[in-house]
């Protein structure tokens, strides 16, 4: 029958909106307002999972975020999500869900054979076995891996998108139960900017599931009113379905807002989730408390759940988690659950109470309602295959350590247990706030805060509703005040019941007929199948620190992160070790409070936005010309321009031939540019570069080499003297930002006395380098006011004038070894210049070339690329550039060059390589040996840093760094490659082309 366990009235569900969903292949129905959990209970489904290790049948333990058992695979295909707690899933039309970790089904789960061997699987068993035969772990591992894991990861790209944003608040309130609402009201009324978040779809917290009254009306009505008032305030933002999951340094709180998971139709213009990064001046934590299970024998059967969960199912969702219930409790508050269940028509077989002398207002009310209370009793055993159907109870000795007398059997299909409450101190702890063990509630409560936060309500160990509200109000006012606002006088205090859940009695482990570990299992961590016996074993074996206990047994390491198990585990450890619990310490609370989607963390910073793509003003032209692009830093640079049918090799051969024989053009816009001005500019350059700068005259350029203080080459480039005390420095494309930072650092921190200003002008200019025998002719055609004759415009100078009708600064420098001019125009004119050059160059068959050809050309000349010939371990001497290192002045890194290892003649030095077979192109990164051996190891003497086929040389050639290479010109080295191929080469000078530099100077 449909929804057989639905109560006929009550609950916060919309009975007019029937919802179809599929669970484990079956079609079921629920109502709008249900969670997947409540809907399953309405349909009598209690067996909803199998345990991790033993595959024991498991049902719902809880009704909220702490649920360890009911883990579901939600949705299918690309939208599937693994390991979702059924208690956190809002029901929607068409929802499909199936339990994880059971095959073929939860009812008939083959993995259940593990139960037969469970004696062989105490905690840590895997450390003790699977070692035979030697190295067979790989085999065992495969079996273990496929048995482990819970749900399945999607295997298709996520079709949804995620929003991510920053936010700022005066007061952030986490949790919108009575405490949080009271806090938000107090802070909001003061005018402070408030963000109030709650994980639930509606605000109200525990009021939604209770029959408590505030100010004489139902708690839910009070909550509705409070929210209405808050909504009317401009300065308050209320976020539901939003978890505050991480509390980081400097009051930085991360929230996850869920926007579409609860919708049947996923709108494609709404992000699935929103990731909030909130900087709050003050934080009020009002995150409530989580009920604690009791640890008794076979306490994990479906139908055994937290009392508060049973109560919530009845009150909030109007479902009956059972027909006949037993309350198993150690405190007064839990009796409210029994009363509420009874009121909903659930028969209460008995209340089994660990207290010798149960008392308290709710206990009395239960008594008055005719509930049979078995004082000083414990559940000693439970029975039932897929659902609990019978329990055994017995009286205990006074100290609660053992049984005293024979027991009785009770028939029931529901055990509602309550072992007390654990304040949800997660966020307080994440913020590094300290905890204190409060023996009144046998749990941890916030001691003092380290950041600007305060806890209020149940998360602070305060349980009476009146006190909770008062504490919330006070916290809200205090937070607003601390954030600089003046809250009005208190709004009077809220009237509500003042009793909490005490009196109570604390027993960490309920005795049964057999010693722990000798029969049945006392579960502590339900998800990770950790029992009390496992904890004892760990302690016995010497894993005594709580951190070791956690790691050896895996208690608290599941997807619920021990929300129901951690304090019980500590209690049991404390008892076994005979150490007070406060001396044990707690394991670390870590983000996230509940699991958070990776996609939300990534937000929009994926795909095209993963990194910015920087483009030159000529980019659109390159695209149209069919360029392949290379990533250099964040820039896209044309790599080569293949024509139809051309491979990269073909294109590069064509491009480099063109540049050597007629005319090529390169987009050199991406070079870094720094404007340097001030009376001490020359001195500054002198200190930064290895070579001397004081003699450089306006109109001239000079190549410079920059080192780190460790003496290693860091960047290089040409600097032009624009005028007196005015320079323009060029850096490598990838190094621009770092170099500027490096220079500013020296100026501001080491040499503040130097009168120098730096301004980055990288993007002020667009640059085209024209190279080739026809470069001068072309330039002459494009300019009217620059005399391009060799005499008037010599190598390493620049001229200003007009090119293509626009202002230009033309530098006669050459990275290609050709006659070459770098034409710099204002960036807005870049495309125009480029197109003009291309059009005018047609008669010279002008050929645009990319970075690959640029590399071939420069390598033929033996010019280095920082980052290719250098790798952070290369000095100027290694590159044969000692002449560039002035001996007359101090410069950054100079001192390092005289350390003993820098003077070692056997350092790796830059050389050229010619493969014996001119067709053999060495692999860049090939390692070189002097003696080839049949087998490795072989002593390596260097490596190939650059290697190309040169159409100009008509052969392959390479640059390499070789130990002592500068003195080994003419000697042989070998590159032993994979597959027995060895390439023999001859060491040469690194300059292959035009060693006298006639072309570039010509």
């Amino acid at each position: 029958m449909a929804q057989r366990y639905r109560l006929s009235k009550g609950g916060r569900i919309d009975r007019d909106r029937l919802i179809d969903f599929t669970y484990d292949g079956r079609k079921l129905q629920g109502y709008q307002g249900d969670t997947l959990a409540s809907a399953l209970i309405a349909n009598g489904r209690h067996l909803v999972g199998r345990s991790f290790k033993y595959h024991r049948p498991r049902g719902f333990l809880a009704a909220g975020a702490e649920e360890p058992n009911a883990l579901m695979q939600i949705g299918t295909g690309a939208r599937t999500v693994a390991d979702v707690k059924a208690t956190q899933v809002e029901l929607y039309q068409g929802l499909t869900a199936s339990p994880v970790n059971a095959w073929p089904s939860v009812k008939y789960d083959l993995g259940a054979v593990n139960q037969a061997f469970s004696k062989l699987f105490p905690s840590g068993f895997y450390y003790k076995t699977f070692m035979w035969p030697h190295s067979a772990w790989h085999f065992y591992e495969r079996v273990i891996r496929s048995a482990a894991g819970l749900g399945k990861a999607p295997d298709k790209p996520d079709p949804d998108f995620y929003d991510k944003r920053y936010a700022h608040a005066d007061v952030l309130v986490a949790g919108a139960g009575p405490a949080g609402l009271a806090a938000a009201l107090a802070a909001g009324r003061s005018g402070a900017r408030v963000i109030l978040v709650d994980e639930q779809p509606e605000t109200g917290g525990s009021l939604l599931a209770s029959r408590d009254e505030i100010d004489g009306k139902p708690g839910t009505s009070w909550a509705e009113q409070a929210v209405a008032e808050l909504r009317a305030m401009d300065n308050v933002r209320i976020l539901t379905r939003t978890i505050a999951f991480g509390y980081y340094d400097h009051n930085w709180i991360a929230l996850l807002e869920s926007l579409t998971d609860h919708l049947a139709e996923k709108p494609d213009d709404v992000p699935r989730q929103r990731f909030w990064k909130v900087r709050a001046k003050q934080v009020v934590l009002a995150t409530g408390a989580i009920e604690r299970p009791l640890v008794f024998r076979d306490n994990d059967r479906p139908g055994i759940m937290l009392a508060n969960a049973a109560q919530s199912y009845v009150n909030r969702w109007a479902v009956k988690p059972g027909e006949t219930a037993v309350l198993f409790a150690n405190n007064d508050g839990a009796y409210q659950a029994a009363l509420d269940m009874k009121a909903a028509g659930i028969q209460i077989a008995a209340a089994v109470d660990l207290r010798q002398d149960p008392s308290g207002p709710r206990t009395e009310a239960a008594r008055a309602a005719g509930i049979d209370i078995l004082a000083g009793h414990a559940i000693t055993e439970t029975q039932g295959g897929h659902r609990v159907n019978r329990i055994k109870v017995a009286p205990m000795s006074e100290d609660g350590k053992q049984l005293a007398g024979s027991g009785q059997t009770l028939e029931c299909d529901l055990v509602a247990m309550s072992g007390g409450w654990n304040p949800t101190v997660h966020l307080h702890s994440q913020s590094r706030g300290k905890l204190r063990f409060d023996s009144d509630i046998a749990s941890f409560v916030p001691d003092f805060a380290v950041q600007a936060e305060r806890s209020a309500g149940a998360c602070n160990g305060t349980f009476g509703l009146a006190a909770v509200l008062a504490e919330g109000e006070t916290a809200g006012r205090a937070a607003a005040e601390a954030a600089g606002f003046s809250p009005a006088a208190a709004n009077g205090h809220y009237k509500a019941a003042s009793d909490g859940f005490t009196p109570a009695r604390w027993l960490w482990l309920t005795p049964s007929t057999k010693p722990v570990g000798h029969g049945g299992k006392h579960f502590v961590d339900f998800q990770n199948d950790v029992t009390a016996a496992d904890l004892h074993l760990a302690l016995r074996e010497g894993y005594t620190s709580v951190e070791h206990v956690k790691r050896y047994t895996t208690t608290g390491m599941g997807t619920d992160q021990g929300k129901t198990s951690n304090v019980n585990a500590l209690g049991i450890v404390s008892e076994y070790r005979e150490l007070p619990i406060e001396e044990l310490g707690v394991t670390t609370f870590r983000p996230p409070y509940t699991p958070v989607t990776f996609g939300a963390w990534g937000g929009r910073d994926v795909e095209e936005f993963f990194d910015p793509t920087r483009k030159t003003p000529m980019h659109s032209w390159h695209e149209r010309a069919g360029a392949a692009f290379e990533d250099v830093g964040l820039w896209k640079r044309p790599w080569y321009y293949p024509k139809a049918g051309e491979t990269m090799h073909d294109a590069v051969q064509r491009e480099s031939k063109a540049a050597r024989e007629s005319l090529g053009v390169l987009d050199a816009t991406t070079l870094g540019r720094i404007d340097i001005q001030g009376p001490d500019s020359g001195e500054f350059l002198n200190r930064i570069y290895t070579n001397g700068w004081k003699t450089l005259k306006p109109g001239f350029c000079r190549y410079g080499l920059m080192l780190g203080e460790d003496g290693m080459v860091r960047d290089d480039g040409v600097t032009a003297c624009l005028g007196e005390n005015h320079y323009l420095m060029h850096t490598t494309t990838g190094g621009a930002a770092d170099v500027l930072a490096h220079l500013e650092e020296y100026l501001q921190t080491e040499w503040p006395e130097l009168q120098v200003y730096l301004t980055t002008v990288t993007e002020q200019y667009a640059t085209a380098a024209i190279a080739g025998p026809n470069a001068r002719k072309l330039l002459a055609e494009l300019t009217g006011d620059i005399d391009v004759s060799p005499e008037a415009f010599p190598f390493m100078t620049f001229r200003e004038g007009h090119v293509a009708g626009v202002w230009a600064r033309v530098s006669r420098i050459s990275f290609s070894g050709e006659l070459s001019f770098e034409i710099n125009v204002e960036a807005h004119n870049g495309l125009h210049m480029w197109q003009t050059i291309i059009a005018a160059g047609e008669k010279y068959a002008i050929t645009p070339y990319g970075t690959e050809t640029m590399h071939v050309l420069r390598a033929e000349k033996g010019f280095i690329i920082v980052g290719q010939e250098t790798d952070g371990t290369v000095t100027p001497m290694d590159l044969g550039m000692e002449k560039l290192c002035s001996t007359k002045k101090e410069f950054v890194g100079r001192r390092s060059l005289t350390r003993p290892d820098m003077l070692d003649p056997n350092r790796k030095q830059l050389v050229g390589l010619l493969p014996d077979n001119p067709k053999d192109i060495l692999e860049e990164g090939a390692q070189l040996v002097e003696t080839v051996r049949p087998e490795p190891p072989m002593a390596m003497v260097g490596h190939v840093s650059s290697s190309y086929m040169s159409p100009t040389l008509g052969r392959a050639f390479a640059l390499a760094l070789i130990k002592g290479g500068q003195h080994k010109h003419g000697q042989k080295v070998y590159a032993p490659m994979t597959g027995d191929k060895t390439i023999a080469c001859t060491i040469t000078s690194p300059v292959f082309f035009d060693p006298e530099g006639e072309r570039l100077r010509g």
């Binding site: 998108f161 900087r279 820039w635 990288t762 009217g784 006011d785 004119n829």
Partner: protein, 210 residues
């Protein structure tokens, strides 16, 4: 020699001109390409360079703002505070040689003081942003508090935009109207990132005229 002018704004390749709408319509954010302006970077230590304050005022007709995170200006000419000895001078002059001319003006005016004036007119794109959702949208891209009480008209703030991209934000009025200055090669990133932020904020963008 005759100057020809084929200038292109950094966002030219997006063809925004053809997409301009008359009004915001239902869009929460209006975005525009502010086109050409003269932009200069000025470095001078006013505390150490006696009379530099006055020199600047004489040349430009207004004083350099010395309060951090503010702007000051007059008649389409303004200076944005970038740091204790750094300003960005922006002139609403779109003549092709505006950068050079204003560079001369400021340089002349500041002669005799140790300072640096550099023309960066071509180095930046200026993106305008307006609309009721502008602040909400920008809060997705920058870590600044964009609340009207925290970012006020006349203020200038530099920060990081999205990933790895610097931005200068100038709030011109409370409606709000923002000028965003970004390095020209990042312009397209900022433009499309903003549009994606609007999508995340569940609002639309409209392309408006300069």
């Amino acid at each position: 020699m005759v100057e020809v002018n084929y200038r292109q704004v950094p966002l030219a390749h997006l063809g925004l001109a053809s997409k301009i709408e008359d009004s915001l319509g239902d869009a929460g954010v209006g975005m525009s390409d502010r086109g050409f302006r003269a932009i200069l970077n000025l470095r001078v230590d006013l505390a150490k360079q006696a009379g530099a304050r006055e020199s600047f005022e004489k040349a430009m007709g207004f004083t350099l703002p010395e309060t951090p995170n503010t702007a000051n200006g007059k008649d389409g000419t303004e200076a944005l505070w970038l740091g204790p000895n750094e300003w960005q001078v922006v002139v609403d002059d779109n003549a092709p040689d505006a950068g050079t001319r204003w560079l001369q003006t400021v340089r002349q005016g500041m002669r005799g003081h140790f300072c640096a004036v550099v023309d960066v007119s071509n180095a930046q794109a200026i993106i305008g942003m307006t609309g009721p959702m502008a602040r909400e949208v920008l809060e997705r891209a920058v870590p600044l508090d964009m609340h009207p009480g925290a970012f006020k008209p006349g203020e200038v703030k530099q920060t990081v935009f999205g990933r790895h991209c610097g931005v200068i934000m100038h709030l011109r009025d409370e409606s709000p109207v923002f000028d965003l200055y970004v390095r020209r090669s990042f312009a397209e990133y900022v433009w499309s990132y903003t549009r994606d932020c609007a999508r995340g904020a569940q609002t639309d963008t409209a392309v408006l005229a300069g």
